[in-house]
Subunit: 363 residues, 4 copies
Amino acid sequence: VSFSFGSNLRVTIFGQSHSEAIGAVIDGLPAGEKLDFGRIEAFMRRRAPGQSSVSTARKEPDKPRVLSGLVDGVTCGSPVCVIIENTDVRSADYEAMKRVPRPAHADFPAFVKYGGFNDVRGGGHFSARLTAPLCFAGAAALQLLEKRGVNVAARVKSVAGIEDCPIDFVNPDFAALKAAALSDIPVISEEKRQAIRAAISLAKQKGDSVGGVVECFAAGLPAGLGEPIFDGIENRLAAAVFGIPAVRGIEFGAGFAAAEMRGSEHNDAFYMGGPDARTVMTATNNHGGVLGGLTSGMPLVFRAAFKPTASIAQAQRSVDLISETDAELQIHGRHDPCVVPRAAPCVEAVTALVLLDFLLVGK
Amino acid sequence: VSFSFGSNLRVTIFGQSHSEAIGAVIDGLPAGEKLDFGRIEAFMRRRAPGQSSVSTARKEPDKPRVLSGLVDGVTCGSPVCVIIENTDVRSADYEAMKRVPRPAHADFPAFVKYGGFNDVRGGGHFSARLTAPLCFAGAAALQLLEKRGVNVAARVKSVAGIEDCPIDFVNPDFAALKAAALSDIPVISEEKRQAIRAAISLAKQKGDSVGGVVECFAAGLPAGLGEPIFDGIENRLAAAVFGIPAVRGIEFGAGFAAAEMRGSEHNDAFYMGGPDARTVMTATNNHGGVLGGLTSGMPLVFRAAFKPTASIAQAQRSVDLISETDAELQIHGRHDPCVVPRAAPCVEAVTALVLLDFLLVGK
Amino acid sequence: VSFSFGSNLRVTIFGQSHSEAIGAVIDGLPAGEKLDFGRIEAFMRRRAPGQSSVSTARKEPDKPRVLSGLVDGVTCGSPVCVIIENTDVRSADYEAMKRVPRPAHADFPAFVKYGGFNDVRGGGHFSARLTAPLCFAGAAALQLLEKRGVNVAARVKSVAGIEDCPIDFVNPDFAALKAAALSDIPVISEEKRQAIRAAISLAKQKGDSVGGVVECFAAGLPAGLGEPIFDGIENRLAAAVFGIPAVRGIEFGAGFAAAEMRGSEHNDAFYMGGPDARTVMTATNNHGGVLGGLTSGMPLVFRAAFKPTASIAQAQRSVDLISETDAELQIHGRHDPCVVPRAAPCVEAVTALVLLDFLLVGK
Amino acid sequence: VSFSFGSNLRVTIFGQSHSEAIGAVIDGLPAGEKLDFGRIEAFMRRRAPGQSSVSTARKEPDKPRVLSGLVDGVTCGSPVCVIIENTDVRSADYEAMKRVPRPAHADFPAFVKYGGFNDVRGGGHFSARLTAPLCFAGAAALQLLEKRGVNVAARVKSVAGIEDCPIDFVNPDFAALKAAALSDIPVISEEKRQAIRAAISLAKQKGDSVGGVVECFAAGLPAGLGEPIFDGIENRLAAAVFGIPAVRGIEFGAGFAAAEMRGSEHNDAFYMGGPDARTVMTATNNHGGVLGGLTSGMPLVFRAAFKPTASIAQAQRSVDLISETDAELQIHGRHDPCVVPRAAPCVEAVTALVLLDFLLVGK
C-alpha cells in the first residue's frame, strides 16, 4: 500500500501505463473550493509528452475526467477522483521486457516482488505516466495555495551539466520562473535553453539520454509550519519527491554544498525586516527556508537530481530471467532522451500537495 | 505527532535535552530475539560525546535502562521502552536563547510554532541528544539484521571538503568500514583521518565549525524488497534520515552526479553472477542497490550531507524576539565543532531501523 | 481523509450518491490472484437495490468497471480501481434537503462541517450507495480468503425484534448461511423470513421503517492472528463496521449478554480436540473466536445493530437551516423500509477486507 | 505496532504487568497547557486497585513520574512520557500459566503469536495494568477538554444485570455523574450501589466473577466534529474502547435497542432551541450525539459491555500446551471479582483522548 501519501490531504494514485485508465483520489480538499479546470489542464500540458522536439512522440489527450468530489466545479468535502483514459497504447513494443529486464528500470526487482505477475506493458505501475494524475492533484493544490498567498514554482536548474543562471534564494523571481515554465525547457536563460536543447538532441541522435536537476521554490509560507524530527517539511517533501520516477537525490537550501562550508559562512543571520521592520528574516538563505523541520518564513528552496532516462536506443547488456542466462537488450519504442523538463511540473505538484497538507492542519 | 517513524517496526522517541530523561519506545520487534547489551552500549559510545578531542566535553554516562519489552534479555513482543536519565545539565548556559534565536537552529520557528512554550534548554526536543535513544533502537535493529544476513555500515565520506578514499559500490569492504567505525573519525584512510582531525581542530580554534558527508552501505538484502512510488526504500530512508539533526541532503547510488551522466554511462548492466551464475547482478552500482523503490539485491549505497554545526563561538547577528529588535548573539557552552563523526552511527541506526521494518513485512 | 481503511490491504472509496461515478481503490492485493467476476457480480447483487418487494425500487445496473490493477483478470500488484457509473439519478427529489435536514441523517452536522458545500443530492457521500464499491472490494477479498481456507458469512439475525433461529457458535452451519444469503431476506428459518417480510411490508405501508441485527461468522482463521490492545481483531473490525451506514453497535461472541454472565458461565474451557486431538479448542464459544485482540482458532462471531431506515414517508419535525426556524419535513422518493437484508453482504464485505488485511501481514 | 492510537494526539503505551515499569508517551498535546497533577492522581486513583472491599488487594502506589514534555508543569510541545514503576510484584503466583492457558484470557493465542516468548507474568502486556498510564493520559486530556468547554463522565450502568437508574440523554446530569465517580461503585443510585456491592461480594465468595456495562457521556462538543465513513466519532471511539481489556461490545445512543424500534420512534426530531432559539437541537437523543460519524451538538452517549473477570478462583478445564493434553487449572493470586467499577475511568480516559484528538484538528 504505497500508492498514497499525505496526512490531512491524502493523494492515492492508481493505474498502469497500459491499463484502461490511470487516475488519482484526492481526499481532504476543504469543501467550498472552486477549481479552475482551464488552469489545471494548462498545468498538465507542461508534463504531457509530445510537446516538443525534445520529448517522446507519444501523444495523448490526457483529458482528465472528474468522477466525484465536485458539485458544479466546487469541492464538496468528498474525495475528488479523477481518471485519464489510456488511449494511445502499443503493447507490441514491450514484449521483450517479460524476460529481459531493462537496466536502470524496476523490471528486475518487480519481477521478484510480484512473482512475474506485474504488468510489464510500458513499465506497468512504475511508469512515469502515473505522474499525470499526480499533476492534476498538484494543479488543484497550487490553486488552493495561491488563494492562501503561497507561490510554488520549479525550474530546470541543469541538464547534462549545463547550468541555468542562479536564482536569488532570498527573493526568488517568481515572474521569471513562471515565464520559464511556459517553454519546452523551463530554464530562465534563453542561451542555456538552446544549449540544453542541443545537448538533448545530441543524446537522442546517439541513442543515449541525459539527466539533470530541478530546483523548486515556495514563498509565502508562514513561519513555524511543519513538525520536528520525523515528520517535518524535509522528511515529507523528500518522501514525496522520491515518488517521482528517476529521482536520485534531494537537497535543501545550500544542500550538499553546506557540507563544505564553515558554520560562520553557512549560518544565516537573523534581522528584523519587512515593511514594518518587525518580521524576522535572514540576510542569506542557506537554510532554504526550513530549520529543524519547520518553516522559517523565508522562501523554501530545494533541488532534486534526476538520472538520465533509463530507456535508451543503444543495445545494452542484460539477462534473460527465464533461461537464467546473459542476454542483449534492444529497447524499441518512443522514449524521452531527457525527462527533466517534464519533471519540473511534477516536482511542483508534489511540493504543492505536501505544503497544502501542512497548511490544512489548521483548517 | 512526529516523534515516530516506521510501519511494522515503529520507533517513538521522546525527551528534551534537559528533561528528566530521554528515551524511545520500539514497537514491533519480533518476540524471541536475544539482545546483546554489551554491543548495544558499544554502538552507543560511537555516538556519545566526549570521546575525543574533536567533540564536545559534555560527558554523560548515557546508560540505557530498559523498562519493558524484555524477559531475561529476550524480546517478548511488547514494546521495548528504553530511557536514559539526563544528568549533566547546566541550564544557565542557555538563558539567552529564550529571547535571541540562534542562527541555523530551530529556535525561531519553534518559538512561533509553540508560542514560546517550547523547552529552550539545550535546544529542547530539537537537540541532537535525542539521537541517543535512536542509536539504542538502531543497535538492536542491527543485531536482528545481522542474524538475517544483512550488514549495515556507515563512514564519514568527507569533512570540510576533505574526502576519504573511495569505496567500491559493488563490493563494499565491510571489514574496513567496521574498523573505521572504531576510531574517533570513522574514515578508512588514516592520512585523511589526520587531515580531517586537523581541519576540525582549526575550526574549533577559530570558534567556527565544519560539516561533511556520511556514506552508508547495506549488503545482504534480498532483491524485490520495498514498495513502489511513495513508500519505497528511498522514500522511507530519506524521511527517516532527515530526522537526524543537521541533514541537508540525501542521494542514492551515483546521486546528484547521475544528473550529469549519460544513460549509457549510468545504466548498470545486468549479468548472471554469483557462485552458481544464476544470481542477477550488476557490473556497476550507480543505482545504489535500489530501482523504483525496490532493492535490486546489489549493495544499498546512499549519502547524507550534514551542515556545519550551527552553534559556533563567534559572535553572530540575530534578533530579540521580545523587543523585536536586532541583537548580537554570543553562544557559550560546549559544542562540537563538527557533528559528522558522531552522525555516522546515527545514519547507521536509522538505516537499520528502516531496513528491518521492510524485512519484517514477511515475518 | 476518512474514506480509507486498512493497513496491508487498504481500501479507499469515493463518490457521492449522484456524482458521475462511485468507486474504490484497493491497494495491497497480492499479485497473481485470479478474480472471478461472475461471483463478484453475484455478491454485489445481494446488496443491490430493487431485488425484491421489500427494498427500494431504484434499479441500477451497478456494473463495475475495473480501470487498473489487473492483467487478464489477474492482480498485478498495482491498486485495483473499480468504478460504477451513476445512471438512475433523479435529483429533483432531494431539493428540500438543502435547507431542511432529515432527522437521523448526517445532513445537519454535514452542513456545519462543510459549510453548506457538501453534495446533498441523495445524501452525497454519506449515502449507503458507497457500499456498492465496498462490496466489490469485499467480494474480491472473500475469494482470496476462500483460497486460504477462510469462510465468511453473515445473516440477518433479527428484524423488528423478530429473531431468526440460533446458530451454533462452535460449529456454524456455513452451508445454511450461504443458502440463506441467496434469498431476499438472508435468514435461515423460512418461517421467520415470512414474518420479517410481513413486518417490513407493514412498516412500508405505514410510511415507517424497521431496523435489525446482522450476525457474521468467520471460520478457518489460524490462532494467534491479530494484535494486542489498540489494533486487534475487535478494534479494526469495529472501526470498519461502523463505516457502514446505520450501524449503532457491535458486539463479539456473547457480547452485551456477557455483562450479565458469571465468569464460571462465560469462560470457555479449553480442550485438546481436532482430528488428532492436538488442536486447542473451546467447548463453548462465548469469546466469539477472539481473545485480547487475537484469534483463538475458534469461529469468529460478532453482531452489528442497524437502526431503522432514517428516511420515512411520514411527516417529521425538523428545522430550516437558512431561516433558523422550525419546519416540517416530508421526504419523497424511494427508500428501503429496512436496510438490514442488504446490510448483511456489506458486513461480510468489510469483515473479509479486515481479515484479509491481517492475513496478508505474513504474505 | 498496536500499542498506539490517535492521529493528532497519539498515545503509545508500553510495559508488562511485571516489567520494570509501565508507561505512556503522549505526542501531540498543544504547548502551553498547565497540567494539574493533583487532579491527575485523583483520577488515577479511581482506576487503582485496592480501593475497596470489592477490588483486588494488590496495592500499588502507582505514582506517575513524568520524564519529558513538561517545563514547570506546562506542556512544551515535546511528547509527554510518563512512567509508573512496578513494585508489588509476586511472580510465583503465575508459574502455571506458562503451560496452561487461562480460559477467556489471551494466554493461548499469545503463546501462538509470540512463539512462547511473551511475558506470562501477570498477563504480560495483555494485563489491565496497562490502563494505568492510559488513565494518566486520559486525565490530562480531560483537563484540556474542560478548558475547551467539554465535559466527559462515565458511570457503571449495570453489574450482573443490576441496573443503575436511567439518565436523561438530552440533559445528562454531570453533577450526579461526577459525584458517583467518587464512590467505590460509580452508580448514581445508592440503593443500586449496595445491591451491586452485594452481588460482587457473593461472586467473590463463590470464587466467581461478574461483568457489567459502562455508560459514557460527553457534552459541550461542537456540531460537525468528526469525519464520515471510516474515521468518524464511532469508528475511532470503538477502536479505542476495544483497547480496554474485557470489552465485548459498544453501542451508541439507543444502540442495539434501535434495531427493534421503528423509524418514526427512533428518529430524533430537530428544533430550534438554546437561549436564543437559534441552536439546532433534538427533542430526544436516540442518535447519541453522533450522525454519520459527525457530532450533532447533542450529548454523546455510548455504552461498553465488559465480560466477567476471566480469572476466577474456581477450578477450570484447560490444556497443557507443552504435553498437548487436557489439564485442570487452578488460578491463585489476587483478582477483582468485577472490573467494571475500575473500568469506568478507563472508558472516560480513552473517550477524552479520542475527542481531544478530533478537537485538535483545528488547533
